[in-house]
């Protein structure tokens, strides 16, 4: 009570509600929790909200400018996927799956799955979702891998970043939608920010873990041959950690897909929209088919990236 009070005073310059506090009888101490008074609580909320609104007014434009490349990237891919003839898109996506996995079954399954999604009227939504997943995953990787590398090189960085990641993974996603909306309003960008916040922890954690797990003896050998730190990172640590990093990327994509529906609440386009509409109107069939569409996309991406990850470690599985 005393401490929280001091902090509030310091941040907001508020006065202690001595009058409200004085009304409490001493005997109530054991039965009533010593919570802040109604006035204090109202003042604190007002103070916090105002402070963030001020922050959003001052920095909102800067944040939007920083995310402009991501928005452009998203818009471009949406345009590409939506304006290209659907058979071509279907063919290219199936071909990508083939090159990643070299599996006939998965490639044929991809083509059939995507065709069914389109047949059930969700082609455009599915393409928007794909563009969204791509934009947010690429951003998450670009931000996440360097953070993971930093964590692997410094125990101090790890001890700072880890609790933040714990926080990001445990706080309900709706909670951080509130400041995201206050900063960016409604639309594509807040959707993508929400997805990135939700999906970035695995790629950071597994990059860190992968690099930390690299064989100490191989690292010693690299040192003994006079490798520079950069050479060691790019030629030894990252290549050897790559299977683990790929597992992180895979998890990041899966979590991004899981966030599609929640992001739809702040106006992100894609398969989340029909799901949201179905929830609001109790359209069971529509909800189920759109949900199944998300599941199909998730399975395709998951299997393709996993198969690609396994192919990256060909040197491990080839026996003699």
């Amino acid at each position: 009570m005393g401490i929280s009070r001091t902090v509030i005073d310091w941040v907001c310059g508020l006065e202690s509600d001595a009058a409200g506090r004085a009304g409490r009888a001493v005997g109530e101490f054991l039965t009533e929790f010593p919570e802040m008074t109604r006035t204090e609580w109202r003042d604190l909320r007002k103070c916090g909200d105002e402070a963030f609104k001020g922050f959003a007014r001052t920095w909102g434009d800067a944040f939007e400018a920083a995310l402009e490349p991501v928005r452009q990237f998203l818009i471009y891919f949406e345009w590409l996927l939506l304006t290209s003839p659907w058979p071509l898109v279907l063919l290219v996506l199936s071909a990508l799956v083939w090159f990643a996995s070299r599996s006939v079954a998965l490639t044929v399954g991809t083509a059939i799955g995507l065709f069914l999604i389109g047949h059930f009227t969700f082609w455009e939504d599915a393409m928007r979702t794909l563009a969204m997943i791509l934009a947010s995953t690429v951003t998450a990787i670009i931000l996440g891998i360097p953070i993971g590398i930093l964590m692997s090189r410094s125990n101090r960085a790890q001890s700072i970043v880890n609790p933040i990641l714990d926080f990001m993974q445990t706080v309900p996603s709706f909670v951080y939608l509130i400041p995201v909306i206050m900063l960016f309003g409604i639309g594509k960008v807040p959707g993508i920010v929400a997805v990135i916040i939700y999906a970035i922890p695995p790629v950071i954690r597994l990059t860190n873990l992968g690099i930390r797990l690299v064989d100490k003896e191989v690292l010693e050998a690299a040192d003994a041959f006079g490798s520079s730190g950069w050479k060691k990172l790019t030629n030894v640590q990252i290549p050897l950690a790559l299977p683990t990093i790929m597992a992180g990327v895979n998890q990041t994509i899966m979590m991004a897909l899981a966030m599609v529906v929640v992001a739809a609440m702040v106006g992100a386009p894609g398969l989340g929209q029909p799901v949201l509409q179905a929830i609001n109107n109790q359209f069971l069939t529509m909800g189920l088919t759109a949900g199944a569409g998300i599941a199909v996309i998730a399975i395709i991406i998951d299997r393709a990236t996993q198969a690609y990850g396994e192919r990256l470690q060909a040197h491990r599985t080839k026996g003699h």
């Binding site: 064989d215 003896e217 191989v218 010693e220 050998a221 690299a222 040192d223 003994a224 041959f225 006079g226 490798s227 520079s228 050479k231 030629n235 030894v236 290549p239 050897l240 790559l242 040197h315 491990r316 080839k318 026996g319 003699h320």
Partner: protein, 352 residues
């Protein structure tokens, strides 16, 4: 002065090694230091001069500090006190960048568990040290090919380490170390993980290459047979301190203490000891001429075949330098019977 000199080297593992060093200077031993101050005495006052172009073996059981010692030569481990001088330069005074260049150009290392890069092919593993040296791609390629061939792995350039047997992987390790043309070759239990036959095979490969390359080799091993076979000079470590240093003859004939006596007990002396370390003064005996570097087993066989009791020992030019008798040979082999009495019969059979 070239070669490697190690002077007054101490290594103490723990939180406050400098403070612990004071205790060691005051005469505290390894067990007391661990018990009273929770510091591990890794190396204790090591002084060792390793000549250029020779094979220096450092031998000891696990925990004796031999792997710690070899890592001081390229400073993979920082000492607590002392000097390590390679080719006239104190390695411990080098800046980070100088040290990096020193490691890249002057030393190379072969590891017990090979420590190859699993995601690279044999070719690309051998090229690694050359990449660090920033050798141009074409030259890198041809030099790596040459060394892969020299260690007997021609045809395996495109294989990954996991596709090779242990012996073949260590050949890659050896080729990778040799490809950089470094003068100093550090071998940390390089052959210890290999089967006995393959180990002998690899020793042969190394000795054969050494006759031509004349590198300064520091070879760590826990195997006395291996040490006697390849070492020009042998240093024996125990609990971080050097117990004895000398050539194979010294160590077998004059073990410094019971620890080393115990070590050399099971060695077939006849195959290691040279006649010139036993011979008496030259005298005119009737018998064959043998050279001073003849091993006792060969000398015994020769004397038996010719059915004589004595032989003249001559130097390279044929000049007599001494005399050796069967009695002397037999004595040298049963000399230690009194130290380990019950192996009497076994020894006698060995000698015959």
């Amino acid at each position: 002065m070239s070669g490697i000199q190690i002077k007054n080297l101490y290594k103490i593992f723990g939180d406050a090694p400098k403070a612990a060093l004071e205790h060691v200077h005051a005469g505290m031993g390894k067990p007391e230091l661990l018990e009273q101050h929770n510091h591990v005495l890794g190396l204790q006052n090591i002084n060792l001069t390793m000549p250029e172009s020779g094979i220096q073996v450092v031998m000891g059981l696990s925990g004796s500090g031999k792997s710690t010692l070899i890592r001081h030569i390229n400073r993979l481990i920082e000492p607590t006190a002392g000097e390590v001088i390679v080719d006239g330069v104190d390695v411990l005074k080098m800046s980070a960048e100088d040290l990096r260049k020193f490691r890249a150009n002057k030393t190379s290392m072969v590891f017990q568990k090979f420590a190859l890069l699993p995601h690279r092919t044999v070719q690309s593993n051998v090229e690694y040290g050359l990449e660090v040296q920033q050798v141009a791609k074409d030259e890198r390629h041809s030099r790596a090919l040459k060394w892969i061939e020299r260690v007997g792995l021609a045809g395996f350039e495109g294989h990954y380490p996991s596709q090779l047997s242990g012996g073949m992987q260590q050949r890659v390790g050896l080729a990778r170390a040799l490809a950089t043309d470094a003068e100093v070759l550090l071998m940390d239990e390089a052959f210890s993980a290999l089967d006995p036959l393959i180990r002998t095979d690899m020793q042969d490969v190394m000795l054969e290459l050494q006759t031509e390359l004349k590198k300064t080799i520091v070879f760590i091993t826990h195997d006395l047979d291996e040490a006697l076979r390849i070492g020009d000079n042998i240093a024996i470590l125990r609990d971080g301190a050097m117990v004895q240093e000398g050539n194979a003859q010294d160590i077998l004939l004059n073990p410094a203490d019971d620890y080393i006596r115990d070590f050399v007990k099971d060695i077939n002396r006849a195959r290691v000891i040279r006649v010139d370390s036993l011979m008496g003064p030259p005298s005119n005996v009737s018998g064959p001429e043998i050279t001073g570097d003849t091993r006792l087993d060969a000398a015994t066989r020769l004397l038996q075949e010719q059915n004589v009791g004595q032989a003249k020992v001559v130097d390279g030019s044929g000049k007599q330098v001494g005399t050796i008798s069967l009695d002397q040979i037999v004595n040298s082999m049963v000399e230690k019977v009194e130290l380990s009495g019950n192996t009497n019969t076994g020894r006698a059979r060995d000698a015959a």
